[in-house]
Structure formats: structure tokens, C-alpha cells
């Protein structure tokens, strides 16, 4: 069973191995306690499956609880202990603006306000030697007082603790007596990497959300057990691996991006099943679109990310988190993104969003700004009577008024053309972002098929794919619960990192072998505790290397077993190969330095195929619901377009574009020249026509979404 809590809905996917069937359940997310919503869908699903909860072997859960706590700033009252003289690193940040021209930019408030940040008398050198011993009395006094005064959580981030954690550990030790109720996060345990700002930020995020996550998991586990659940309970990590609830309670910062990770894993799983080794995961929701590259069935993993951006989704305006995460770009482009005419007399879409309240004009909740969803409705892509499967009828008139008033009239164009402009421009924004992202990683955007999900993803995937020159789009069954699908394809995994700076040619291998072995052992113990047999455990080790003096490092695998100076050449070779992939060349005659050492311990990965009840085989025409006029650019104008019911399209059937294929949570738009077909796993695959690179002279090429 996979259960994903999103901002609006709680999604569930139940896979019954014995009966070879699945159950999809969707309910509203409940506030303030999401436990109710989870238990409601869980009980509904087991009832529909006619299966006692006790028969569920594994439950994988992802939640936005932790990240929303950061975004909404509803976490614990949190203090920070820092080395004397360095308590402001968290507020000094990187000393850099993230936007060159915008002088109104903002920095996020630190999670621990300055009055709760304390200078601790102690000091380690960069080599990890004690320069000033820890003032245990000061620490004990402060801890007692913090607890007495009602402070709930404490992050400890002392200089060079990634190198020698002794003082941080001592503080935790003192706290056991002095402040037993205070929840303490140590930077040397949460994110033991060099750079005090990023490490402190990560540790603070952990401390700040811990109580909420812990309380929630306790409640949920209790409710599940009370209803008969006896299986294994895992949480989804941002990196795509599973952890036990015990680990999630200790390191809740690892589950911040659990939902998006699930989506990317679903894409990776589809990539493996369909043999596509280049997929672009494309999740377009209400306010943002998330894009992730999937190469050879594996998402890329980045060593860190940023949460809770305070200013227009701008990179640099959030809190840095140094925790492995499935690499994604997120841009302010969603169904609720607002279109406006800018001072250049051009249409701009997003990043401002109408959100869910008041939402797009067509929601009829008082929104008057034209949004992407309004445009999609006016273009005929959405059926006003079948939005969310008919649960939420859309109103065409307010949408028309909004687009007319704010876009069409100021620009002197008709409403449909204005709507087309909005649709086209938001597609351009997403395609441009994807193209640059893929070029930065040294790959060719034209090789990537687009794996589309999220409410607006399938509506826009065809247009985005056409702009990228992609060969195809793939829309999975259950696209509305893609994250939950991804959860069930994940392996239990633990990632460890140890910050230990050294020149590659002067590594103390005894030390390195020591802590690599220790991390592996910890991981094996944790997996054994989760019921994974030793033989099934996969251990991967890596280090972050860079050229001496360079700021950004590259993660490369290192060989198994005991390491020695004899392995340096192999490691250097692996680095150069990866560097060449990323940057096209290597730097001759430069030394290498290692910054971090990493160990990932993983259990086996389940191969997983979602097979909803397949409709009876029949011609596509049997699945046609009707037709309606839809607009596909000036070259085509309004075309009467066949509308199909996805649930009636059997494997093997094909549909020629233009066409619209509807399901409850979304709508797949197929442009003229495209060809949609249903594969064995009930994915809808749309092959795009070969891209025209030369436009016919005088042709109306700009009007087409190619």
C-alpha cells in the first residue's frame, strides 16, 4: 500500500499480489491532523479490496507535513547552539543576491531567531583538534534554562563538527539530564558536511519539524495498529529510498520531498518497464511544474536542495538543505498560474498563482484573473462538466471574461487566440527551463520522452514535448496517484555522509576505511531491523571530489572493500570520466581533493507494474465519448476533436490526433499529427510527428505547437 498526502488530496494505491489487482483511492487531506484523512482512505481501500488491514504487508507513506511546516512556519520554537562568534552564520548566509536587478528581493528569516541563537564556548580546528574545550557548565546552564522557558527544540552546529563531533555529542549527553524534554538535532548526525551555513540550515530544518513529524507518526501508527495493521511501515525519503518510521522521526529532514520523489520514481519505473532510457518526468500541478531527468531507469540524485523559497520561486531565496534529493527543477507554471500583459505589451504567465483559493476564474469562486486552466478550458481541452471526473464543474463564462478583459482586449486579439497565447507561452516557459536543465547536464533534450502526470501535466505534455523535439509522451495509468505508485517501486535505503577533507594523494586510508566501514555497518543494522536479509543488501560508496581550489564537487563511485593508495588511480579515473560527462573535458595537471565520503545501503528494489482492470479489447471508436471543438493554433484553427474515455481504451488500441482522452484526474491532449496508443501496461503513449526544422516558405508555422 502506498499513501501520499498532498496539499489537497490524500492518494492511495493498494496492490494485491494474490488477486493481481490494484485499488486506487483518493480523499481530501484533513487539517490540522492528516491522520484522519489517511485512515479514511486506508479503511475505504481495504473495504473495497475486501481485505483486512492485517493482510497488508508493506505500507509506504509520503507526506507534505514536514515541508509544509517549514513553508508555513508552524514548527517548534527552536534554538541554535553555535561555536562562539559564529551564531550568525545562519543569517549571514552566502552574502550574495540571487537576482541581479530586483532590489526588492528578500532573505528567509532563520528558523532560529537571533535571540535563540547562542555562542558556545568551545572550538575545534579544521583538523578536528580541540582548540578550546567545551564549557560544559555553560552548556548545562543554558540547556536547563531553555527547557524551563519553554523552548522545544535545539539544533547544534559547531564549527568543524563534521570532522570531530565530540563536542556536539557531549552537548547531547549533557542534555539527557539537563533538558530531557528538549528535542536535539546535531549537525554531525543530520548532515556532517563542511560549510557551516548549509549544515546549520539543514540541522535547524530537522529540529524545527521534528516534533510535528514525530507526533504525527506516533498517532498514525497507533491508529493503524488499532485497525489491525501488522506489516512494515516505511517513509519515503527525498532521495527515493525508504526509511523506517524510527529513522524518519530522528531525521525528518530526509522526508521533505517525499511526494515529488515518488513521482520521479514512478517515471523511473516506467522507464525500466518500457525500455526507454531517457525520460523527462513532468509533473504539472496547480502552482508549479516539476521536471526531472531519468537516465537508464534511474533518477539523478543531487546532494542538496532548497526549501520554502520566500520570493517568487527564486533559486537562492529558500533554506538550503544538504540531504540527498532526486534532482528536479521546479518553475512557477501550473494550472493556477496567472497570465497578464506586462509593460512590454506581451503576455506573461506566472509565477504568481491563483492557488486553490480563489483559484482560476472558471472555478467560480470569485477569481477574476485569467489562469492557465481558464485558457485550457476556452481552448476546448477541458470538459467543463468532467473536471475531476465531474466533481467540480467549471464555468466557462468567468474564464472568458477574465481572458477577454486582461489579455485579449488590451492586446487587440480575440479570446481564443489570447487563450492560445497563454497555453503556448506557459508551454514555452516549461520547455525552455527543461532544455537548459538538460543541456547543463550534457544531454540532448530531443532524446527525452515526456512522462506526464499531475492535474495539468497530460494537458500540456504534448505541447511541451513538441517544443523540445521529444519523440513521445507517456501518460501512466493512475496518473493522479503517480507518487503513490512510485512509493511502491522504491527500495529501503540509508544514505550516510562523512565530511573529511583530504587531498586525494595524501589520504589516510586507515581512517577512511574506518569510517566507511562504520557507515556501512550502521546501514546494514538499520536494514536488518527493517527485515532485509544480509545477502540482499546492496552497498554503494562514493565520494565528492573536485579539482583543488574549485568550489563545486562531483560525486563519483569508489570501489568496494578495503581501500589503499593503490585505488587512487581508479578513483581519479572515475572522477575524470564523470567530469568529462558533465563538463566536456578535464583539467590537466591539477590535483584532486576529496570533500565528503558517502555510503548508501539499499535493499532490493521491487519491480512493479500497475495493472488496473483492463477494459475489454475493442476498437477505439467504442471508447469515444463524443467530440467538441478544440483549438490547435492558427494553422488549424478550431477543429472538431474526438473525445475518448481513457478507461475504455484497451491495450493495443490507437487514436489519431487531434484527440482528447479524458480520465478522472486529468485530460490528455493529442495534437494534429500525433498518434496515441495504449501499451500493455495501459500507459497512453503519444508519438509525435517528426519535428520540422525548416518551415515552408510563407507557412503559418508559428501557429502550430511544434
Amino acid at each position: 500500500m502506498g499513501v501520499d498526502i498532498g496539499g489537497t488530496f490524500t492518494d492511495l494505491l493498494l496492490v494485491d499480489d494474490r488477486a493481481k489487482r490494484i485499488v486506487i483511492e483518493k480523499g481530501l487531506t484533513t487539517y490540522p491532523d492528516p491522520t484522519e484523512g489517511v485512515m479514511a482512505v486506508v479503511l475505504q481501500a481495504t473495504k473495497r479490496a475486501e481485505m483486512p488491514l492485517g493482510d497488508i504487508e508493506v505500507l509506504v507513506h509520503g507526506t507534505t507535513l514536514a515541508i509544509n511546516t517549514l513553508i508555513e512556519r508552524t514548527g517548534s520554537s527552536t534554538a541554535l547552539f553555535a561555536t562562539r562568534g559564529h551564531r550568525d552564520a545562519i543569517e549571514i548566509r552566502r552574502e550574495q543576491r540571487y537576482d541581479m536587478y530586483d532590489v526588492l528581493l528578500e532573505a528567509p528569516d532563520p528558523l532560529a531567531p537571533r535571540y535563540l541563537r547562542f555562542d558556545i564556548e568551545e572550538r575545534m580546528t579544521a583538523d578536528g583538534e580541540v582548540a578550546v574545550p567545551l564549557d560544559r557548565e555553560q552548556v548545562a546552564g543554558l540547556l536547563r534554562r531553555l527547557e524551563q522557558r519553554g523552548v522545544q527544540a535545539l539544533a547544534v552546529c559547531l564549527l568543524h563538527s563534521y570532522r570531530n563531533p565530540a563536542h556536539e555529542l557531549a552537548i547531547a549527553d549533557i542534555a539527557r539530564d539537563a533538558a530531557p524534554a528538549l528535542r536535539i538535532s546535531l549537525s554531525s548526525r543530520v548532515a556532517p558536511e563542511i560549510k557551516e551555513y548549509e549544515r546549520a540550515s539543514t540541522t535547524l530544518c530537522n529540529a524545527y519539524v521534528q516534533a510535528k513529524v514525530d507526533d504525527y507518526l506516533t498517532r498514525l501508527e497507533r491508529e493503524l495498529v488499532r485497525s489491525g495493521f501488522r506489516g512494515a511501515f516505511y517513509l519515503m525519503q527525498s532521495s527515493g529510498g525508504l526509511v523506517t518510521t524510527a529513522t524518519a522521526r530522528q531525521f525528518p529532514v530526509r522526508i521533505l520531498e517525499s511526494g515529488p520523489a515518488g513521482g520521479a520514481l514512478a517515471a523511473a519505473n516506467a522507464g525500466r518497464l518500457t525500455g526507454r532510457n531517457r525520460l523527462l518526468s513532468f509533473d504539472m500541478g496547480g502552482t508549479t511544474a516539476k521536471l526531472a531527468a531519468i537516465n537508464d531507469g534511474e533518477p539523478l540524485v543531487a546532494p542538496g536542495f532548497e526549501v520554502a523559497r520566500v520570493y517568487r520561486f527564486a533559486r537562492g531565496s529558500g533554506l538550503p538543505v544538504r540531504i540527498p534529493v532526486i534532482e528536479m527543477i521546479e518553475i512557477g507554471a501550473g494550472g493556477g498560474s496567472i497570465a497578464r500583459v506586462d509593460q512590454l505589451g506581451l503576455i506573461r504567465v506566472g509565477p504568481e498563482s491563483a492557488g486553490a483559493q480563489p483559484g482560476p476564474a472558471c472555478y467560480g469562486r470569485g477569481g477574476t484573473s485569467p489562469t492557465v486552466t481558464d485558457a485550457d478550458l476556452l481552448l476546448g481541452y477541458l470538459d467543463p462538466a468532467y473536471f475531476l471526473g465531474g466533481h467540480m464543474p467549471l464555468a466557462t463564462e468567468p474564464a472568458r471574461r477574465a481572458v477577454a478583459e486582461h489579455i485579449a482586449r488590451p492586446l487587440g486579439m480575440d479570446v481564443v487566440h489570447a487563450a492560445w497565447g497563454i497555453h503556448r507561452i506557459v508551454n514555452e516557459n516549461m520547455a525552455n527551463a527543461a532544455r537548459v536543465h538538460l543541456v547543463e547536464r550534457g544531454t540532448d533534450p530531443r532524446e527525452y520522452a515526456v512522462f506526464a502526470f499531475g492535474g495539468a501535466g497530460p494537458v500540456h505534455a504534448y505541447g511541451v514535448a513538441a517544443l523540445l523535439g521529444a519523440p513521445a509522451i507517456v501518460v501512466p495509468p493512475g496518473a493522479g496517484v503517480a507518487s503513490a505508485v512510485g512509493f511502491l517501486t522504491a527500495a529501503p535505503a540509508f544514505e550516510f555522509v562523512h565530511g573529511w577533507y583530504t587531498r586525494l594523494h595524501a589520504v589516510d586510508w586507515t581512517r577512511v576505511n574506518g569510517f566507511l566501514g562504520e557507515m556501512e555497518m550502521q546501514g546494514r543494522d538499520l536494514l536488518a531491523g527493517a527485515g532485509v536479509a544480509g545477502a540482499a543488501i546492496d552497498v554503494r560508496r562514493a565520494c565528492d571530489i573536485r579539482y583543488e581550489g574549485q568550489g563545486s564537487d562531483v560525486t563519483v563511485p569508489i570501489p568496494p572493500g578495503m581501500l589503499s593508495a593503490g585505488h587512487v588511480a581508479d578513483i581519479q579515473h572515475a572522477f575524470e570520466q564523470r567530469y568529462r560527462e558533465l563538463y566536456g573535458r578535464t583539467v590537466p595537471a591539477s590535483g584532486l581533493e576529496v570533500v565528503n565520503w558517502r555510503v548508501t545501503v539499499r535493499g532490493p528494489q521491487p519491480a512493479f507494474r500497475v495493472s488496473p482492470a483492463a477494459p475489454r479489447r475493442g476498437p477505439a471508436s467504442a471508447a469515444q465519448k463524443g467530440s467538441r471543438p478544440a483549438y490547435f493554433g492558427d494553422a488549424h484553427g478550431l477543429i472538431d476533436t474526438a473525445v475518448f474515455d481513457r478507461y475504455q481504451l484497451a491495450a493495443g488500441t490507437a487514436v489519431e490526433g487531434p484527440a482528447i482522452i479524458e480520465e478522472r484526474e486529468s485530460t490528455i491532449v493529442v495534437g494534429p499529427g500525433g498518434r496515441a496508443w495504449v501499451d500493455e501496461s495501459l500507459n497512453v503513449v503519444v508519438d509525435l510527428p517528426p519535428r520540422l526544422t525548416e518551415a515552408p516558405a510563407g507557412g503559418e508555422h508559428d501557429g502550430r505547437p511544434t
Partner: protein, 593 residues
């Protein structure tokens, strides 16, 4: 043909052009050797039409690079008119007076041809690791001492490399491998841009960029002119004094808004200097057009059209229009003061984007000495506070207009035998105002070699603080001392005896608006956080705050501080508690809390 009367088509093509330059920049970042390019993204990349007008630029890039490159393309065309250019040609220069103001920046421009006809150029500018001479030093007596000087030349001709030029560069730099590597990356990224541009032109059936360029430039120019016209006509003036290296440097700015044009006149600024902090006019123009756009209309894309409504005047021989062969290597030291001065001149006239002056300059700290493991030299940046905005406090420890980043203490201490004892926000350094200036920071450092060491630091604004706007007070000036209390000028390298620490207190930003109108709640928060002292709350803001917790209380909470409303109203009504008029320097107490 694409119909450019259709705003959707224009927007699509325009965004695509910007995207093409982002691909160009991504390719450069991906293939460059030098960390400054790779990590700081200190580069600019842009596309030009065949007349040399910049039509789109990548999102990366500092104004000093991008805007000076934009105005520099005309020099390329003057040196090589279109009939002398062929496919496979690549042009290059580092002329400080034609491109970005010092020899370390290499600009490479590549003409693009479609069906045999010149359609435009791609160009980029990168900071080279070394170009001979006395790099990153203001010590040279003239530009010839500052390194290799490359007039506009063909680096490639007809696809063939100019071996003579390559060999001269190779022989004149201390770091030939990375420098040549970066040049190759600069050439290659223009090719990436050109390929994408040609694909785009093919897709949309364009034979030339002329019509598109004209549309983009016209729309941008009109938008900026409309924004300028919305401001009240008038002359706005401001003056500031930078420390300079040997003698203070006066920067006098008169901003005249007349209808839809802006004239920025620097007449009256100091004469050019003996040291290499002189600014060529093109670099002055670059930071001036940047400031006008940021103050008035940041949403307008940066291109040829957004420069047109702005005229810049600086008399020849003044430090902002230095004449060759003046030394210019460290031109940023003075150039970085221009945007803040323009913002302050405009004052409240800039509307919501109005901003007080900030620390403006970047503090570059360079420490060297001997150690058991051999001699070391280590250089890093740190930043003071930004000015307060019309509606928001200033950002603490954030560079403006520079885009450089600071360095974590752990990184500094790992790469050099330096100890950063303190790196914290500096209390009472943000200029009081209705919105407070951003705080500066205090850096306290020494070495752990047991020996003496040399240190230089370009902490500016020691004499002249960051001025406030609209009744806002100046921020605290910078202060540079030894822990013994001895004040030293670290703009010259100082030798520090073993065991002594250096304390650098960087300037805070100026305040915006009368501090007596600041929300007392905001003052209370600043007091609670130790950014404003209880005394300063009373004397600067006219806010009386009572601390209820005992002096020995280790953990203070919001409730421990209460605004005495009656006393505050009384104090504010008397007008006491306000400082001397804006502009008077104030020296803040030293940091710590």
C-alpha cells in the same frame, strides 16, 4: 514567416532567444576551467543583431560584464565591418576602454551566418585567471603594467585558429592551461548559441533577425521610456566619498529626468587616480544603465533598447572617464559605488524601489604568511549591509551591486592556516530609519602558525558611511583595528605580530525614512535580537523599551521586552531622540552582544 504583429509570436521568439543565450551560458559554465566562471557564474553571454545591437542576454552575468559587452560590440564592427567577416571567424579583445574595463576580462564575439549572409553575433565575457602583469592589484602605474593588451583581433579566421595570437597569450599568462581552456570554452559556447539560433530561425522561417531585433529593441525602449516618463521631471543629486586607496575619492552624481530620458552627469567627481582604481567610461556606463533599470524598471529585459533612454556624462580625465594609459585593474573598487549613489540621488522619487546607500564595496581580504608547511596566501570576500528600501529593511551582509559570494569560515580554515574567531552581524550598524539599513558584519581573524602575518583588506566606507534617504540615518562606517585597539589602514598590506588578531567591522546600510516613524514593534524585535541596543532604540528611534528579565537571564524571549507606549509617544512627540540631520557620520559601537 512569423507574424511579428502578433504579440504571442513576439513573446515566443523573444523567450526563445533568451533561452538560446541561457544555453550558451550553460555550455560555457559546463566547459570552463576556472572556478570563478564555473561556481560564481561570473560571466555574461548574449546575442546581437548584425548591426551589433544586443537583443537578448543570459540570466547570469554582472552589469560590469554584460552592459559593457553590449556597448562594446560596435567596436568589433568598426574594426571588422561585415564585408570583412566570414563564417568560421571568431573575434576577441580585452581592451578596457572598449569592453569591460580591465585586461582580465576577455570578450569573444562570433559572427553568425545564415545562407551566407551575416545575421548576428554571439558574444561572451569571462574573467581570465591571469593575463600577465599585476593581476587584481591596483599597484600598476599604467595599463601596460597590468598585463597583455589584445586589440580586437581575429582569434579564428575561416575556421582556422590564429596560432600567433594563441602563442602570444600562452606566453604571457602565468596559467596557460586554464586560460587557454577557458578561451576554447568561450569559443565553443558561442557555437552552441549559433546552432540553436539557426535552428530557431529555421523553425520560424526567419531569414534575418532584423525585424525581430527592431521589435524587441523598440518595445524595450518604449517600456523603459514610459517608466521614466512616469517619474517627476527634475534634477536629483547625491554625492559620496569612497575611501580610495591613498586619498578619498569623491563621486558626484546628478540625475536629470526630463520627459522620457535620463541623463546621469558625474561632473565634479575626483580626477583620475595614481592607483589602478580608475574607471573607463564604458564601465561607468555599464553600472549607470544597470542602476537606472534596477531603480525604475527591472522587469524590462536588458538589451540595446534599455540603454537608449540613458545618457552618461563624465568629463575626460575624471576617475569615471579615465584616459589611457591610466591603470584600471581594480576599477570595481570605485565603480561599485555608482548604483548606490544613483539610487540615493533619486531618493523617494524611485517609488517602491527607492533604496538608501549600502556598503557598496566588496571587502576583499588577503592574508599571507609563512607556516611550517610552507608559505600561504589566501583571499576571500565579505560583504557589508545593503541600504533600506522604501518599504522594507535593508538586507544584512549582502553585496550590491556586486554579485560575489562570501566564504564559509570552515572553508577558509580548511584551505589556509587562518582562524576566523568571529563572523557575526554587527549590532547598531544598520542605519536607523522607518526601514532599517542592513547590518554589516564583524570579522575577527588571526593565523595559527604561531608567526606574524601580512593582511590587506579593502573594507571601504571607513570615513564616509552609507547615507540614508528621506530622513533615514546613515549606517555605521567600517572600522579596521587590531585587537589591541590600534586602528590600521588595511588597504595597504599590514604586518601583524604573532598572536594578534585583526578585527574588521564592515559598514551597515543606510536607513530609509524618519526613524521616529518606525513601527515600535519592529524596534522591539531588533532589540530582542540584539541588532539594536536599548540605548539606540531610545536615541535613534525614540522608542522606549523596558526589559523585564534580569540581567543574568541567559534566555530572553519576546515577552521580556515591552514597548513603553506612553514614554515612547511622549519622547516621539518632543522630537527629542532624533539625531542630527541625515548625512552626519555616526560611529556605531563595536559588534558583539
Amino acid at each position: 514567416m512569423a507574424d511579428l504583429r502578433d504579440p504571442v509570436v513576439v513573446q515566443v521568439l523573444w523567450q526563445r532567444l533568451i533561452s538560446v543565450t541561457n544555453e550558451q551560458a550553460a555550455a560555457l559554465i559546463r566547459t570552463a576551467f576556472t572556478p570563478i566562471v564555473r561556481d560564481a557564474e561570473d560571466l555574461s553571454a548574449a546575442v546581437f543583431d548584425r548591426g551589433g545591437r544586443m537583443i537578448a542576454q543570459s540570466v547570469t552575468g554582472t552589469p560590469g560584464h554584460i552592459n559593457s559587452m553590449a556597448t562594446g560590440m560596435k567596436h568589433f564592427l568598426a574594426a571588422y565591418p561585415p564585408d570583412t567577416l566570414r563564417p568560421g571567424d571568431v573575434l576577441m579583445t580585452n581592451d578596457p576602454w572598449q569592453t569591460s574595463g580591465h585586461l582580465l576580462d576577455l570578450t569573444i564575439a562570433t559572427p553568425v551566418f545564415a545562407r551566407g549572409a551575416l545575421v548576428g553575433f554571439f558574444a561572451n565575457t569571462c574573467h581570465a585567471l591571469d593575463i600577465g602583469g599585476r593581476p587584481m592589484s591596483a599597484d600598476a602605474d599604467d595599463v601596460h603594467e597590468e598585463g597583455l593588451y589584445i586589440p580586437i583581433m581575429k582569434l579564428y579566421e575561416d575556421g582556422r585558429p590564429n596560432d600567433s595570437l594563441f602563442r602570444i597569450i600562452e606566453a604571457n599568462t602565468r596559467a596557460p592551461a586554464p586560460v587557454l581552456g577557458d578561451i576554447h570554452a568561450q569559443v565553443a559556447c558561442n557555437e552552441v548559441g549559433a546552432r540553436s539560433l539557426l535552428a530557431l530561425m529555421g523553425e520560424f522561417g526567419l531569414d534575418s533577425l532584423d525585424a525581430l531585433s527592431a521589435t524587441i529593441v523598440r518595445r524595450s525602449e518604449q517600456a523603459l521610456r514610459r517608466a521614466i516618463a512616469a517619474l517627476p521631471d527634475g534634477e536629483y543629486a547625491a554625492e559620496t566619498t569612497a575611501d580610495g586607496l591613498d586619498a578619498p575619492i569623491r563621486i558626484r552624481t546628478r540625475v536629470a529626468i526630463a520627459g522620457d530620458t535620463v541623463t546621469v552627469d558625474y561632473t565634479g567627481s575626483s580626477d583620475q587616480d595614481r592607483r589602478g582604481i580608475n574607471v573607463p567610461l564604458n564601465y561607468t556606463e555599464a553600472y549607470t544603465t544597470f542602476a537606472i533599470k534596477a531603480a525604475i524598471s527591472p522587469e524590462v529585459p536588458n538589451n540595446d533598447g534599455s540603454f537608449r533612454p540613458v545618457r552618461v556624462i563624465a568629463p575626460a580625465g575624471c576617475i569615471l572617464n579615465a584616459q589611457p594609459p591610466a591603470p584600471v585593474a581594480a576599477r570595481a573598487i570605485v565603480g561599485h559605488f555608482l548604483p548606490g549613489t544613483i539610487f540615493r540621488a533619486l531618493g523617494a522619487a524611485a517609488g517602491p524601489r527607492a533604496m538608501a546607500a549600502g556598503a557598496d564595496s566588496v571587502c576583499l581580504i588577503s592574508v599571507h604568511g609563512g607556516a611550517a608547511a610552507g608559505p600561504f596566501t589566501y583571499t576571500f570576500f565579505c560583504l557589508g549591509g545593503m541600504g533600506a528600501r522604501a518599504g522594507k529593511d535593508g538586507l544584512s551582509t549582502t553585496g550590491f551591486p556586486s554579485g560575489v559570494a562570501g566564504t564559509p569560515a570552515e572553508v577558509t580554515e580548511t584551505l589556509a592556516p587562518i582562524v576566523i574567531h568571529r563572523r557575526e552581524l554587527r549590532a547598531d550598524s544598520g542605519g536607523p530609519g522607518r526601514h532599517r539599513g542592513g547590518s554589516g558584519q564583524t570579522i575577527e581573524l588571526s593565523v595559527r602558525t604561531g608567526r606574524g602575518y601580512g593582511i590587506a583588506a579593502t573594507a571601504d566606507r571607513t570615513h564616509s558611511p552609507a547615507e540614508g534617504v528621506d530622513g533615514g540615518q546613515p549606517g555605521a562606517p567600517a572600522r579596521t583595528v587590531l585587537d589591541s585597539g590600534e586602528a590600521l589602514n588595511f588597504k595597504q598590506t599590514q604586518q601583524v605580530p604573532p598572536g594578534q588578531r585583526v578585527i574588521l567591522e564592515l559598514a551597515g546600510g543606510g536607513g530609509f525614512g524618519d526613524p521616529r516613524t518606525r513601527d515600535p514593534e519592529a524596534v522591539r524585535r531588533d532589540v530582542l535580537n540584539g541588532l539594536v541596543s536599548l540605548e539606540a532604540a531610545r536615541s535613534d528611534y525614540g522608542v522606549v523599551i523596558r526589559r523585564s528579565a534580569s540581567d543574568r537571564e541567559m534566555v530572553v524571549l519576546p515577552d521580556d521586552f515591552v514597548v513603553d507606549q506612553a514614554a515612547t509617544s511622549a519622547l516621539r512627540a518632543t522630537g527629542r531622540g532624533s539625531r542630527d540631520p541625515a548625512g552626519a557620520p555616526r560611529s556605531g559601537p563595536s559588534g558583539g552582544s
